[in-house]
Symmetry: C2
Subunit: 288 residues, 2 copies
């Protein structure tokens, strides 16, 4: 955090307010400059005692060394471009969006030379939204992916890396195309699965009300993501369509193979389940 | 528990040992008769201090008022038939398997008249297995579905209901065909999804090792079920194939609709996500 005396946070929902909480607690000497487009969110932040006041406009963030943009992915480019012009020389902008290639394309060469933009994506969140849902330790031990462009100055990348590490995250630099493809698998597809499972359950519930007696922990766990913020996820699905489609199609193929095995070659079930179980136990850190 | 002085438990894994723990703690006057086909499991139960000894054969359970059969679904019918002949008059047998129609067909009219069988299915479990994974409170507040046949005496059904209620579960009577169809959706399909997502992740990991940096809480949560016991789940998939296939095919259809909307009608995304989100929030008990 050594290069950051003035920190800006734009968007004070789950992620933005978690950053706010973490910085307030652990780096009280840093001056915070907060902005949210929604007056109601600003009032909530003030009512929660997280900040005395929010800025009235983006222009008020001009003296920040780093601004973290925490708005839905579809709005990131607009905010970054709007902010950049007024920022002081050497300022760095970053974001927390789940889809990167589109933002990079939209920002393109539209930033002034005295400001840098380092797209980012902390692998942290939750299905709850709004400033009240934020948690000081949300980023502790989580991966934060950074997607710098070839033209991004090293000092700017390092400032953003230093920021996330100070919040306890483990940073990792990746390529935008790769990022979008893998995030589609590990984050966007799980949400699409939860939405689809919820829909399938709704169809069944309409036929048979007893369906409600059949819900165990495993089912609740697998539909939890379906209760996520609608605006945020509409934006992510719109902004990472190609990669999400490709991963969903691959997943459907895998499901079709399961159907074929169930129907025609049940003798292969044990091996197939075992393969996934070994992988899952390894990933979950258990002895296999 | 008033009609139960001698309780038998066959199979001392996660579910059997959870029943054992709950009964020992809360109903110490009940005589427990335990059996497991695996010597190693018996040794584990004894080493954990859960019981001084396990029975050497099923025949030793003859004086039980109720026997709960906690073996993989594929073995339930065999155990029930093997047990029944030697049981005292009026004894009741039940099980905890996830698939019911097949067990009911297999048991058929092969039980002697002096014994009743009430198939059951507590909606409780976990991805951990073995006697060490059991928990005294595993059934507290959970649904336990009972699937009595038209010929089952009311007194037998009530004995099994009383047993589960004493362990804190909420009982509910359902029809076997309905049970298998809904359990396929709310329990078996979530497992199949977890296995498939794990497999899809494995495919991606083989192409790009950076995939490992992209794992957030939501992904871990959605693949946890993939680490479940291989034998148990092979048996469930084999024993409830038709219903699981039908639910999986419906789920694939829903996924295909998502793909079509992503590709051709993104304007519908918000409404579609919103529909699932409302349902999920309602189910998870949150204010929408």
């Amino acid at each position: 955090m050594e290069h950051i005396r003035h920190l800006g946070i734009v968007g004070l929902g789950l992620l933005g307010s978690s950053i706010l909480r973490a910085v307030k607690s652990n780096y009280p000497h840093i001056h915070l400059h907060l902005f949210d487009g929604s007056r109601q969110v600003c009032h909530e932040v003030e009512a929660l005692g997280l900040a005395p006041r929010c800025a009235g406009s983006l222009a008020e963030l001009h003296e920040c060394d780093l601004v973290v943009v925490c708005v839905p992915t579809g709005a990131v480019a607009t905010v970054v471009i709007a902010l950049a012009e007024g920022m002081k020389r050497g300022a760095v902008l970053t974001d927390v969006g789940s889809a990167k290639q589109m933002v990079i394309n939209e920002v393109g060469d539209r930033l002034p030379a005295h400001v840098s933009f380092v797209p980012g994506h902390p692998m942290a969140g939750g299905e709850q939204s709004g400033p009240g849902a934020g948690r000081e330790d949300l980023f502790a031990g989580k991966s934060c992916l950074l997607i710098p462009l070839a033209t991004t100055p090293t000092s700017a990348i390092e400032r953003v890396e230093g920021f996330w590490r100070a919040l306890g995250a483990v940073t990792c630099r990746v390529d935008a195309r790769q990022h979008d493809h893998i995030a589609a698998l590990t984050s966007h597809l799980p949400h699409l699965i939860a939405f689809s499972l919820m829909e399938t359950f709704g169809d069944q519930l309409a036929i048979n009300p007893q369906t409600g007696s059949f819900i165990g922990r495993s089912f609740f766990e697998q539909i939890r993501l379906a209760s996520s913020d609608v605006t945020v996820w509409t934006s992510i699905f719109e902004d990472n369509t190609a990669a999400l489609l490709s991963q969903t199609e691959h997943f459907i193929e895998v499901l079709n193979q399961w159907c074929a095995i169930l129907q025609e070659r049940p003798v292969e079930l044990h091996g197939k389940i075992s393969h996934s179980s070994v992988l899952a136990n390894r990933l979950l850190g258990r002895v296999v």
